[in-house]
């Protein structure tokens, strides 16, 4: 089983230096694109590879790039931003790549930058990833010294600057337009689309924001081709995917696996099954902002269309498991507390709706709930739906709630009828 992304990552060893990375074939993709491929060639290759954005939305990466205006007469500078603001609860897949092999990310960023002919690139890093910040800083310096960054890279005439920017720890910055505002030094509120960042992004210039894992796939696609990348997968979605499992399992963790392994395989094979005495009740397949899957969905392959078909989202591909010893109401309350706090406060439904939901859930959890509360919760799951709010934060927050009401409705009722939390 090939693990291109994590093959050189060993948890108990320092990441590869530039020299070591080159020795295992690193930066070959940079040489290759600069010598053999046009920017359009790279874009087409990535489009063909069917690489889909690993940040959660799953949009075709090459297609996203193709909206960037190309040619001599376009606004400059153009920007590439690596979204390393990994703050989705339960998600730690990018952290492995950032801490484990920063040169792979840099190489991927050079490939993406070349494809869109970006002049300046940024790594927008989550504030709490201190170790990653050190490793990336070191790697960027090495890459500059080796001539992979800066003016006239490898004599090709192509130039690229790269900077590390650490955020201040706002979930909102994971949203690409809010990230751009934050990077400009403004409040991390999302921007209206259209215009898309490809046209008017960072500082009003054409910009691509890609997830870390997405970018890390690029050197391998360049080196091995689109067909190889597609072949890594078990399903229609190409490549490998770093999946993760957290919760009451024997071996919580993250593993690079072919796209399309099933939920059951992940839990039972890789995470070592549920801990003794704990039963599987449900799982959020791709981070906190995805709908619950339950027992009946365990054999669903973890890829974008299959997870969507059973009413949830692939998201980041890192699941959180709900067990039978944990109160689903308290579980969801904890999530809603997070989302309410991380709302940027820009649009009304999210700013005012999420704290309301949080308060209702807290009162249910305390045994102070009323039958009307279920109605109110249901109302919010619909009213905070996509399109009604400015960005995807609140709709994402409603996904675990709406599915919890669907699958664990009885548990909610019990809180009201018994006037206490049955788990306490």
């Amino acid at each position: 089983m090939e693990k291109p992304l994590t093959q050189h990552i060993t948890p108990d060893r320092k990441p590869l230096s530039l020299k070591e990375y080159e020795q295992v074939g690193g930066y070959r993709a940079v040489h290759k694109i600069l010598k053999e491929l046009t920017p359009e060639g790279v874009t087409n290759l990535v489009k063909d590879s069917n690489l889909r954005g690993r940040g959660g939305a799953g949009f075709n990466t090459g297609l996203k790039w193709s909206f960037v205006p190309m040619g001599p007469e376009v606004p400059r500078p153009k920007y590439l931003v690596a979204n390393a603001d990994e703050m989705e609860p339960g998600t730690f897949k990018d952290r492995i790549l950032l801490e484990g092999n920063p040169h792979q990310l840099i190489e991927g960023m050079i490939v993406a930058s070349y494809a869109i002919q970006a002049d300046i690139s940024y790594v927008f890093l989550r504030w709490a990833y201190k170790k990653a910040a050190q490793e990336i800083t070191k790697a960027i310096n090495e890459a500059y010294a080796a001539g992979y960054l800066g003016q006239n890279i490898l004599g090709s005439g192509y130039s690229l600057e790269m900077h590390l920017h650490t955020g201040v720890g706002r979930y909102m910055c994971g949203e690409e337009t809010a990230l751009l505002n934050a990077l400009e030094g403004k409040r991390a509120t999302p921007r209206a689309k259209p215009p898309f960042p490809q046209v008017s992004g960072l500082f009003g210039k054409p910009t691509i924001v890609n997830n870390v894992e997405t970018l890390c796939c690029l050197p391998h696609i360049v080196n091995n081709g689109a067909a190889w990348f597609k072949g890594l997968s078990r399903t229609g979605d190409a490549g490998t995917k770093i999946y993760g499992v957290s919760g009451k399992v024997n071996k919580p963790g993250a593993w690079e696996l072919p796209m399309g392994v099933t939920v059951r395989e992940l839990i039972e094979e890789y995470a070592g099954g549920m801990k003794n005495g704990y039963r599987f009740k449900g799982a959020l397949p791709g981070g906190a902002s995805t709908d619950f899957l339950v027992e009946e969905h365990l054999d669903t392959p973890m890829d974008y269309p299959s997870i969507a078909a059973v009413g949830s989202r692939m998201g980041t591909g890192t699941m959180i498991i709900l067990d039978d010893h944990t109160c689903p109401v308290g579980f969801v309350h904890n999530l809603q507390h997070f989302f309410a706090q991380e709302s940027c406060g820009f649009c009304t439904p999210c700013r005012e709706g999420l704290p309301w939901v949080e308060k209702i859930l807290l009162s249910l959890d305390r045994g102070e709930g009323k039958p009307e509360d279920i109605q109110l919760l249901n109302f919010h799951t619909k009213a905070l739906g996509p399109g009604n709010t400015f960005c995807a934060l609140a709709p994402g927050a409603m996904e675990p709630l709406q599915s919890a009401l669907k699958y664990f409705g009885e548990d909610f009722e019990r809180h009201i009828n018994e006037k206490q939390c049955p788990w306490k």
Binding site: E342, G345, T348, E352, L354, P355, F379, F390
Partner: protein, 910 residues
């Protein structure tokens, strides 16, 4: 035009707008908060949701925010669709979760957009049962209250204050449902347009602090359409009264003048009307300390003036009618304009330029769309504040072209700003000292008036060879002139702004030459000149002798009595000259609002109505005549100056005034007497104007307490006072539809109690008022007889032991009437003289130390302020500021060294 279907009814609408604007223009009530017609859309509040459908067969549709969706041909939307209606109701429900429901004690109540929208959406039952979040409020200075608990987070305040008005000290802090709109700490909101927050805020977070001191609900105000008196721009305002005192000024939309906003001087400067220093009864020196009745005063005047040779001194802050009545009373040969020598010349020159220029004399609102601006010698923020606000918008014109190219609608405000970032279009400023607009300027030059003029002439000569060349320019001056001329030539709508405030004719002439040179090549060239007072241009058109000749007439015994109209001569002429003049005149009759130095010396003082107690016409800086209306019946013996003058005329049996009874008679006589004023009668409908036989009420139909408010005096309700001068009633009875635009006392529409109702009065949202915006231009355009000015001044050279005094201005402090208002006075600086560090060192002075100097015979002792934008060899004197005596400047001041002993007592600065 595009066809859109709203609830299956086809409508023709303008393409390029958004659906919210289209709906409102069509008269469809759709609630909104964050969108503002002057500031565009951001999509934050989600209040204006509607359903759109793919086609006729689509029954499900999807919710969209109408403010974020452009008008597209054949788009189908529904405002009434149940899901859309329900969502809008829920948005209010969400907003109300933290709103304190304190309408009963909130200043906004009754004119609150949030109340209106709440009622409009139908939300009334509260389901939220938890605690509300609360905030601490801030002290924001004398103009605004802060009550953050009411905030519904629409973001309008920061968008206006920071993005639109360029303020730096209001922001949004924190996140999620804790977002806070305020300053980083308690303190005065610095921006000169902060008062607009009270109107921009859809609820009671920012409210008028001056109103709070004598609070009245909007529905209880008696309101009249008025025109701001505190600079020459003529911004339209509504003024409201209750119980005989003026309570509030709000902006009155005029699509060609001020648009939606007014400045803080205009909004908060009104309190002089309620000042204890008001003259409320006639005073006759021989009867003092008792006041006299109107009849006694007139009798005294008849007795004293019957045989006298009378001269008159008019006023640039009095209405055309009052000035004309005085002119008629004393005769043309005895009428003097009450301006300083310098102002008189400068305003006359400004008028001549406006009449002759081949460039377009544009209205203020048009300045917003200029794509290259050159300002010569004006600190607009302090002399013509609202124009500065429009110039601030104009610098976005050029960069906004990229927004259009990127197919982003201009109303999509956040997207447009993200693309434009801090790019600005060409704006060049040549001024005496730093101005607030410098921060958005392409290039700036701080210099003496002569150097500004030389730069201007140089720009003009680079554009047209007909304008004289400037010799001996420094290389950097040449480079700047080149840069400016290139930018102006490249623009589609270049605009030249200058005016009287630098005190220099050369600056005005240079500006005139540039405008003419550009107009040779580009018909889109605009020119705007500012003049000192609200009716300076009207007075210049009316014409009159210089003030100096009034002084001579008394001095040489050609006259023995003087009638002074709404003027304090100490502000326009040298103190000793004025003292002599007032002492020598046998009779000094002064009509004014407030006790001041000149009224103190008068033999007879007559209480003249302010803009709140009088009707009249003012001519603004573009030559636009606009009518202001009396707000409430005259308290005590106060009456309009022109009415006093008619009564004096009648008492003296002066044939030119005996047929005049009301304002219309004077305007008709003026239009008859002088071709220039032909258009005056079209400025406003005559007093006899009626709609369906009815007058236009100054009071809302909800006006309360009429039968009770005077019950402590008399239980029977008195007959309402008549207004012989206007088609407006002083009561709540009358026509409730839309009156002609010049006589709209306040904006109101069923369901729209706040200022947001203005769109109901517009042809289209943000456009002209229906049937045209108020005001008539009296200057015909374009002029045909412009001759390039040929005299280029010599370069400024410093003089040993001297400083060249140049005028500086303050929005809060320099203007005579507004400074009487406590709020404005609190914001005014202390007297000072500004010099640069180098000069300060040369005179061995430091900041705060007193500089002693003399101009002509007058001695000044003023604390020094160090300002390195002041050219070496010059000194800035804040003209008009209390404590800074009048002097004709620019002029050379002789500096006294520390060791110099001065035998005269230096002037005490009070």
């Amino acid at each position: 035009m595009a066809t859109i279907y709203i609830d299956n009814v086809p409508y023709e609408v303008k393409p390029g707008k958004n659906l919210l604007e289209a709906c409102l223009t069509l008269g469809i009530n759709l609630p909104y908060f964050c969108w503002h017609p002057a500031m565009g859309s951001v999509g934050a509040c989600r209040q204006c949701a509607v359903k759109v459908f793919k086609d006729e067969d689509d029954t499900k549709g999807r919710l969209i925010m109408s403010c974020m969706e452009p008008v597209r041909d054949n788009i189908r939307l529904s405002v009434d669709e149940p899901e859309a209606k329900e969502f809008r109701e829920h948005v209010i429900e969400w907003l109300m979760t933290n709103h304190p429901h304190d309408c009963a004690v909130c200043d906004e109540g009754g004119s609150c957009h949030l109340q209106d929208m709440t009622v409009m959406t139908g939300h009334n039952y509260r389901r939220y049962e938890y605690k509300k979040r609360t905030y601490q409020n801030q002290y924001l200075g004398p103009f605004l209250n802060h009550e953050m608990n009411r905030c519904i987070q629409c973001y309008r305040c920061v968008r206006f204050y920071k993005d639109y008005a360029g303020g730096h000290d209001l922001d949004v802090f924190a996140a999620h449902n804790h977002v806070y709109f305020g300053r980083h700490e308690n303190g005065v909101l610095e921006n000169e347009f902060s008062g607009n927050l009270a109107e921009v805020c859809p609820t009671g977070v920012f409210t008028d602090k001056t109103l709070k001191q004598h609070y009245t609900r909007k529905w209880d105000l008696t309101m009249a359409p008025s025109v701001c008196q505190h600079c020459s721009l003529g911004c339209n305002i509504s003024a409201g009264e209750r119980y005989g005192s003026l309570r509030q000024i709000t902006s009155r939309y005029n699509g060609e003048v001020n648009g939606y906003f007014i400045c803080d001087r205009g909004r908060f400067g009104y309190e002089f009307v309620n000042s204890p220093a008001r003259i409320r009864k006639a005073l006759v020196r021989t009867h003092l300390p008792e006041a006299v009745t109107k009849d006694v005063a007139l009798q005294e005047i008849w007795g004293e003036l019957r045989q006298a040779r009378i001269i008159g001194i008019g006023s640039p802050r009095a209405s055309l009618e009052s000035n004309f009545a005085l002119k008629a009373l004393v005769g043309e040969e005895n009428f003097h304009v009450g301006e300083s020598e310098n102002d008189h010349d400068l305003v006359d020159l400004s008028l001549k330029i406006l009449q002759d220029t081949p460039a377009r004399v544009i209205s203020m609102r048009e300045a917003e769309s200029a794509d290259a601006v050159f300002i010569l010698g004006e600190d607009l923020t302090n002399t013509a504040p609202m124009l500065a606000l429009f110039v601030r918008q104009s610098v976005r014109q050029k960069p906004l072209e990229q927004v259009v190219q990127a197919s982003i609608p201009l109303w999509q405000d956040a997207a447009a700003r993200e693309l434009v970032q801090d790019q600005t279009g060409p704006l060049f400023i040549a001024s005496i000292a730093a101005t607030k607009l410098d921060e958005v300027a392409t290039a700036i030059c701080h210099a003496s008036p002569d150097a500004i003029a030389r730069l201007g002439f140089s720009v003009a000569s680079l554009i047209s060879q007909q304008s004289p060349a400037v010799l001996h320019l420094l290389e950097e001056e040449q480079a700047m002139a080149h840069q400016i001329s290139q930018a102006l030539l490249a623009a589609k709508k270049p605009l030249i702004i200058s005016g009287c405030s630098s005190g220099s004719e050369a600056v005005l002439k240079a500006a005139a030459n540039i405008a003419a040179a550009l107009a040779e090549k580009n018909g889109g060239t605009g020119i705007m000149l500012t003049v000192p007072e609200c009716n300076s241009l009207g007075l210049a058109m009316l014409g009159g002798h210089k003030l100096e000749s009034a002084f001579e007439a008394i001095q040489n015994n050609y006259a023995d009595a003087v009638i002074i109209l709404e003027n304090n001569l100490y502000r326009v002429a040298d103190k000793s000259v004025v003292e002599n003049f007032l002492a020598k005149a046998k009779q000094v009759i002064v009509l004014d609002h407030l006790h001041q130095a000149t009224t103190d010396k008068a033999t007879i003082v007559l209480p003249a109505g302010t803009f709140a107690e009088a009707d009249g016409t003012l001519v603004n800086n573009e030559g636009r005549a606009q009518r202001f209306y009396q707000v409430y019946p005259n308290p005590e013996d106060i009456q309009e100056s022109w009415r006093w003058l008619i009564q004096i005329g009648k008492a003296l049996r002066n044939p030119s005034l005996t047929n005049w009874e009301n304002l219309d008679d004077i305007t008709a006589a003026l239009a008859e007497a002088d071709q220039q004023f032909k258009g005056l009668e079209a400025v406003a409908p005559p007093a006899g104007f009626r709609i369906a036989g009815q007058k236009i009420p100054r009071e809302s139909h909800r006006y309360s307490g009429r039968t009770a408010m005077l019950a402590n005096h008399n239980v029977s309700e008195p007959k309402p006072p008549e207004d012989p001068d206007a088609p407006l009633s002083f009561t709540m009875e009358g026509y409730r539809g839309q009156p002609p635009s010049s006589i709209i006392p306040f904006f109101w529409s069923p369901g729209w109690n706040s200022m947001q109702s203005v769109h109901k009065y517009q042809e289209e949202v943000g456009g002209h008022l229906r049937h045209g915006d108020p005001g008539v231009r009296l200057i015909n355009q374009p002029g045909a007889s412009f001759h390039y000015y040929a005299e280029v001044p010599e370069d400024f050279k410093p003089l040993h032991h001297h400083l060249f005094l140049v005028p500086l201005y303050h929005i809060f402090g320099s203007e005579e009437l507004s400074i009487i208002s406590p709020g404005i006075a609190e914001r005014a600086p202390d007297p000072y003289v500004a010099i640069c560090t180098e000069d300060a060192r040369a005179f061995q002075l430091e900041a705060g130390k007193v500089l002693e100097f003399a101009v002509n015979k007058q001695i000044f002792r003023l604390p020094v302020k160090i300002n390195d934008d002041i050219t070496k060899g010059t000194a800035g004197l804040p003209l008009g500021l209390p404590g800074v005596p009048y002097e004709e400047i620019p002029a050379w001041a002789q500096i006294f060294k520390q060791e110099t002993t001065w035998k005269h007592q230096p002037q005490i600065i009070s």
